[in-house]
Symmetry: C2
Subunit: 366 residues, 2 copies
């Protein structure tokens, strides 16, 4: 056997880089455990006790296959949003569904439009299916909807990706602006609207829930629900689009415990409201930290806050110094946001660790 | 918006049929719960208590992302088989990994070889990536390795799929025959060797664990480990092939609880030995039932037994009558095995329900 692995031409051309190195992997590499894990936008406020109970109960039934139709969970999600169950597709996180969306709509070689520095896993899928990213920079640290629509039209892209609230910026655009964007898109372009952080956003940022055949909205149990490690996300879309997902998705992809946990969490609205309030309090804390250290923070409608370090060099230096001191944060890699670092809202003690560590760093000249 | 959904040409051409309708879905459609769920080759003997404890414990940590490197589980699997961790790829069941394997090696339009009536989810992926199945019938109810190798050579297929022990037949071929097959394959063809039922097979059916760059072996926690609903499988392959999987796999695809449960189950070897013994006892019971009813059974190295009804019509009639009486079984859809129905080894009470029901049916002329 030679070195040639017989891979397809698309795979041969792919880089070996992966979108995110997990916190545990970083810990293994640096040889220490983080004191404050504030880099992956996980929820610091845990999971609903009702969901915990449901997961523990379901664990005794894992010998049986999970329901490939995700029937009960899909029905509950549909009721929650006031849409039909046939308009819901459940997947192993939004990551899974984004990959399927690329596969559904884009032929190899086609352009796909997103902001420069958009969610890395989406870009991973764009490359993974042999498509070409067409990007436009953030403007005023927000998705530049007009420029993105123009890019989609000019490139005849089958897909445009927008996250709102945005990851990695944390900022948001108004629902009315999104609706204007949708009206402006060519009929051959589908908008992938990633709303992973919707629960944390002002109501004015979330379009009303009328299913549009040219829009797929993505939601997740990873953020407000505190279930990042469970892997459950869903798409809200036209019924015909949902049937398309059914033609290619991994039907048994969302395990029994994940389905049961997500269902129970969806029903625990009190828990979610509490999480959202705690996140709001934490964001305000981070804004105060920024003010006190003369580091401006971007407005955030998510469970993280983006700190503006003024330059890429300084942002990288602060990030690396924080990590050396046991505080895990991440930063955007592309300009103009590469001048920033991004901090997940932690618990009170975690935020205190972050505040103390960052303050020491900045006071000592970082 | 017109009816056109802008799907790719591959997706447009796909059927809406899915490989397996889940037992719960069948129950919802027939409006009753099965008394004996013996159709999906799930384990009737549940899950390791150590694994159950590990899953319940891990449930409290789902707010954190799972480890995308599956580091601990991968290490344990590698030790278990005496290979390197870099030769293990963990996925959400063998189903997930089979899809990735097609995507890694096969361009749209290329032929992929398998037995006629081979595992339906594999064929789903072959179609899903726009490839063309090239099939050869089972011979003496076994994979016809010589014919499959000849078909792979003649069609210049990048992939040949063989399950051993076989699903849906339950039969097996000897390791020496598989090794001869591998020697015979063109250098441009990779063998996908699905060993989902390996734990139930005679040692002589399982090739020694020397990693071959032209072979990918697939194992699962769904069968002997009793974790079908947890979705964990793995590939054992050349390190360069594993790096290929890393370029396209869903890195966060196997959730925290699944990783923790599988790891604990792997360490509970006593449990697995007990399951294997109980399955052997159940297979012998089914063989006796067959003899008493003049229905021959195929030899099985799996956790199910294939009953030969003599004709497709009779097999379908028996299957449908069993289902009407609350006994869920499945049957192969393609000749020559379409004359058979396939029954998972159940617990003692489940096998008694099956025996009683089948006996009544056959005695009344089915």
């Amino acid at each position: 056997m030679t070195d040639k692995r017989n891979f397809t031409s698309i795979v041969e051309d792919l880089p070996t880089a992966i979108p995110f190195v997990g916190p545990e992997a970083i810990e293994r590499r640096v040889g220490r455990t983080f004191d404050a894990r504030l880099g992956a936008n996980e929820s610091a406020f845990g999971v609903s006790l009702k969901a915990l109970e449901a997961m523990r109960d379901e664990a005794s039934r894992v010998a049986w296959y999970n329901d490939p139709e995700n029937h009960d969970l899909r029905g509950a999600i549909a009721s929650h949003h006031g849409v039909g169950a046939a308009q819901i597709v459940v997947g192993a996180g939004i990551d899974d569904l984004l990959g399927l969306a690329v596969r559904l709509f884009a032929e190899p070689g086609q352009p796909i439009v997103a902001s420069q520095g958009a969610y890395a896993t989406f870009v991973y899928h764009v490359h993974g299916y042999g498509c070409e990213p067409v990007t436009h920079p953030y403007r005023d640290d927000r998705n530049d909807l007009e420029a993105l629509a123009a890019a989609a039209t000019a490139s005849d892209a089958p897909l445009l990706y927008v996250s709102n609230p945005d990851n990695p910026a944390g900022t948001w655009v108004e629902a009315s602006d999104l609706e204007a964007l949708i009206d402006r898109l060519p009929e051959t372009c589908t908008l992938l609207l990633d709303e992973a952080y919707a629960e944390f956003a002002p109501a004015s940022a979330i379009p009303t829930m009328s299913v549009n055949p040219r829009v797929i909205r993505f939601r997740t149990f990873s953020k407000a629900h505190g279930m990042a490690g469970l892997r459950v996300g869903y798409a809200i879309c036209d019924e015909q689009v949902a049937l398309g997902f059914d033609k290619i998705r991994l039907h048994f992809g969302v395990n029994r415990i994940a389905q049961a946990g997500a269902l129970a969490s969806l029903e625990d609205e009190t828990f979610i409201r509490t999480v959202v309030r705690r996140v709001e309090k934490g964001r305000a804390h981070y804004a105060r930290i920024g003010t006190s250290l003369d580091l401006s923070t971007l407005p955030s409608a998510t469970n993280f806050v983006t700190f503006d370090a003024g330059s890429r060099t300084r942002a990288e230096s602060i990030l690396s110094s924080l990590q050396d001191r046991g505080v895990f944060v991440r930063k955007p890699s592309e300009p103009p946001l590469d001048r920033c670092f991004r901090v997940t809202v932690g618990t009170d003690p975690e935020r205190d660790v972050f505040e103390k560590t960052l303050t020491e760093l900045v006071r000592s000249g970082a």
